[in-house]
Symmetry: C2
Subunit: 365 residues, 2 copies
C-alpha cells in the first residue's frame, strides 16, 4: 500500500472508527483498525464483533494494499501530528508514516486476520434527516433498561410505518417516545430492537451538518449509512413490549410550567431526597406547582413554581432522576406535565410539539 492523505481527513476518519474498537483485548487484532485502499479511497474499519464501522477518506493512492494497526497508537499519533499531509506505506506487517520531519513505523497485523464485517446487499429501507434523527435519539436513548437481564428493553425500539419512524425506549418505570418523518414511505411496516450500545455509538458519530441517514436491514443486522460512514450492528431478538396500552388517553390535571424553573426546583429538592430519590409534586389551581422533599438526615425543601394548572388539584411522588433525565434534553422553554393520580402514569410533553412524549410512573410510598 502507498497512499498520501491529509492529516485532517485521516483524523476525522479515525475518529469515526476509533470508538468501537477494543483496548487491551487479548485477541490483538480486535484492538486494531483496518486500513485498506478501496476504489480510489482509503477505507478504515473497526469492529467489536457486535458493532462494525467503515468509513472512507480521500487520498492519493499509488499502490493498493491493506494492513491493520493498533487503534490507540495510530489515533494518538495522527491527532498529535502538527503537519498537513502524511504518506502511508506498508512493508510486510509494518505501516510506515512519513510526514515532513516525522518518520514512523507502526507494527501491525495482516489484514486477513481482521474479522469480516458483514455486508448488507439489500437496498436502503428508509431515509431520515440526520439532524432529526440525532434530536430524536437525544430525547429517547437514555430511558432504556441498563440491566441486560431483559434483553428486549435493554435495546431501542425502531418502528417504521408509511412515512413515520417511531423511536421508543423504556425500562418499565418510564417510557420515552419520539416520532420522526421519513424522507420517503417505507415499502412495508417493520419493527426492530437495536442494542443501546449501537444507538449510542451512532448518536456520538452523527455530527452536525450531515444530510441524510439511510437505514438498511438484513434478517439479523441493521446498517446506518451517512456521508462516507457505515455503522453495522446485530439486532436484538424478541418482542418489544406493547407500550401503547400503558400510555393514558386522558388526564385529570395539566400543568404548563417553565422547564428551567422545574429543573431548578427538582435539583434543590433532590438534595433532600438522597436516600429514596422521592420528591413530591403538587399541582394546585391558581397557585401552581409545589415541589417538596425531606429526609430525617439532611433536612427539607419546598419550592413553589408559578405554573398554569388546569383541571383537578393533584399530587404524586416521583424519582427526581426520572423527571430530570427528560427535562434535561428537551429544547423547549416550557413543558406540559399531565397527571391522573398518585398511582397512575404521568406524562411530560414539550409545549407546542406533538412528536414527543415521556411517561413516568409515580413512586408508591
Amino acid at each position: 500500500m502507498k497512499v498520501v492523505c491529509t492529516k485532517e481527513n485521516l483524523k476525522k476518519g479515525l475518529y469515526m472508527v476509533g470508538r468501537v474498537v477494543g483496548v487491551g483485548n487479548p485477541l490483538q487484532v480486535l484492538n486494531n483498525i483496518l486500513i485498506k485502499t478501496d476504489s480510489g479511497r482509503v477505507k478504515l474499519s473497526s469492529t467489536n464483533l457486535e458493532i462494525g464501522v467503515n468509513t472512507w477518506v480521500g487520498g492519493k493512492i499509488s499502490e493498493e494494499g491493506a494492513l491493520t494497526v493498533p487503534a490507540r497508537i495510530i489515533n494518538e499519533y495522527i491527532n498529535n501530528l502538527p503537519t498537513e499531509k502524511v504518506s502511508l506505506s506498508t512493508k510486510e506487517t509494518t505501516l510506515n508514516l512519513e510526514s515532513d520531519n516525522y518518520h514512523t513505523n507502526i507494527n501491525g497485523l495482516p489484514a486477513d486476520d481482521f474479522p469480516l464485517i458483514p455486508q448488507i446487499k439489500e437496498e436502503a429501507f428508509a431515509k431520515v434527516d440526520a439532524d432529526e434523527l440525532r434530536d430524536a435519539l437525544s430525547e429517547t436513548i437514555w430511558a432504556a433498561a441498563t440491566n441486560e437481564s431483559q434483553p428486549e428493553i435493554s435495546g431501542i425500539f425502531f418502528s417504521f410505518e408509511e412515512n413515520k419512524l417511531t423511536i421508543a425506549s423504556t425500562d418499565r418505570y418510564r417510557l420515552a417516545e419520539r416520532k420522526c418523518l421519513l424522507k420517503t414511505r417505507v415499502r412495508e411496516k417493520k419493527e426492530v430492537i437495536i442494542p443501546s450500545r449501537t444507538i449510542s455509538e451512532l448518536y456520538k458519530i452523527l455530527g452536525s451538518g450531515l444530510k441524510d441517514v439511510e437505514i438498511y436491514f438484513s434478517e439479523s443486522q441493521v446498517l446506518f449509512k451517512f456521508n462516507d460512514t457505515e455503522l453495522i450492528s446485530r439486532l436484538i431478538d424478541g418482542q418489544y413490549p406493547d407500550y401503547a396500552q400503558i400510555v393514558p388517553k386522558e388526564f385529570k390535571t395539566e400543568v404548563v410550567v417553565g422547564r428551567e424553573d422545574l429543573m431548578h426546583a427538582l435539583r434543590a429538592a433532590a438534595l433532600f431526597a438522597s436516600e429514596s430519590n422521592n420528591i413530591q409534586l403538587e399541582a394546585v389551581e391558581k397557585k401552581g406547582l409545589v415541589i417538596k422533599a425531606s429526609s430525617a438526615q439532611a433536612g427539607e425543601n419546598t419550592t413553589d413554581i408559578q405554573a398554569g394548572v388546569q383541571g383537578l388539584n393533584n399530587s404524586a411522588v416521583f424519582n427526581h432522576r426520572y423527571l430530570l433525565d427528560c427535562l434535561n434534553v428537551l429544547p423547549e422553554a416550557r413543558v406540559v406535565l399531565k397527571l391522573i393520580n398518585d398511582n397512575s402514569p404521568a406524562m411530560i410533553v414539550p409545549e407546542g410539539r406533538d412528536n414527543y412524549l415521556y411517561i413516568a410512573m409515580p413512586t408508591k410510598i
Copy 2:
C-alpha cells in the same frame, strides 16, 4: 443567626472553603462548613485537620450566631439556586434558607463541635504579587515526590531571603525551581517545607485578578492571606535536600528549540516508549534535535526538529513525562535545553527568562 447575602457572594465564598472539607468522613462535623457572623460579615470555615480555610463574605446581619452544615448540601443548594438573594437564619441546629419561592431547612451541627482552626497572631512575614505566586506554583508544584515515604520532598520548599522567595520541588530525579520577587525585604532568612496538598489547594483558589498574597508563620504553621480568604496549614518537619549542589554550573551543549515542536515530537515518541518511557534526545550541530523511541511491540518513531545547537554534539535518554511536565507549563515559545552527557543532569530554562530552571536526570540504559 439572621443574615441576608447575595447568592453570588455566598457561592464564591463556598467555593473557597468547599475544597478542603471531607465527604463521608465518619466524624460528621468534618464534612461540614462553619457559618458564623463575624464583625459585620459572614465567615465561612472548613478544615480537614491538616488544612483550614476561612473566608469572609458581605451580608446584612440582623442577629449574630453560628452553625455548621454539610458542605455538599449547602454548596450544591446555593449553586443551583436561580434567585439573587438568600436569607439565612438558624433555629437550634437547623439552618433555614429563604429565597423568593425557595424554602429550605438544612440539618446542621452546633458550631462548638467544629474543630478550632489555629490563629496566627504574628505580623505578615512576606508579601508577594498574587499572579506571580500563581505562575510560580504552576511551574513547580508537580515536580514534588508523590510518595510520602520521604516526607521532606513530598512537600514544596519555600525559601525567603532579602527580597526573594525561591520555590522548589523535587522527587530526586528532577527538580523545578522558580524565584519570585517579594514586595518588601523579609526581616530574616527563612526556609520551610509546605505540604503539596496545601500548595495545590492554594493554587486552585488563587484566582486571577487578586492583588497581593501575605504569608504568615507560627512555629509549625503557615498562613496565606489574600482578599477575604485565609488558608492555614501545618508545615512539614525536616531538612530539605541541599539541591543547589546538583545544579550544574556548566554544560557542553545548548539547544534553543520551539517548545511546541519539542512537545509534539516527544508525544509522538511517547507512543513507542510505552513500556520504559525512555526516549532519546540527540543534539547535532547544524542539524538540530533528533527525538527517537522504539519498542519491539509497537514500532519506532524518529522526529527531526530544527533547533539552534551550540557546543558539542550530545545525546541522552529521558523519561518523556519528565520533559513534558515542564514544557506543558512554560508560557514561552522557545526553551533552552542544556546537556552535559548521558549520565549528568540536563537543564531546561525558558528562553529570555532567568527566574526559572528545571533539571531532569537522564535515564540509565
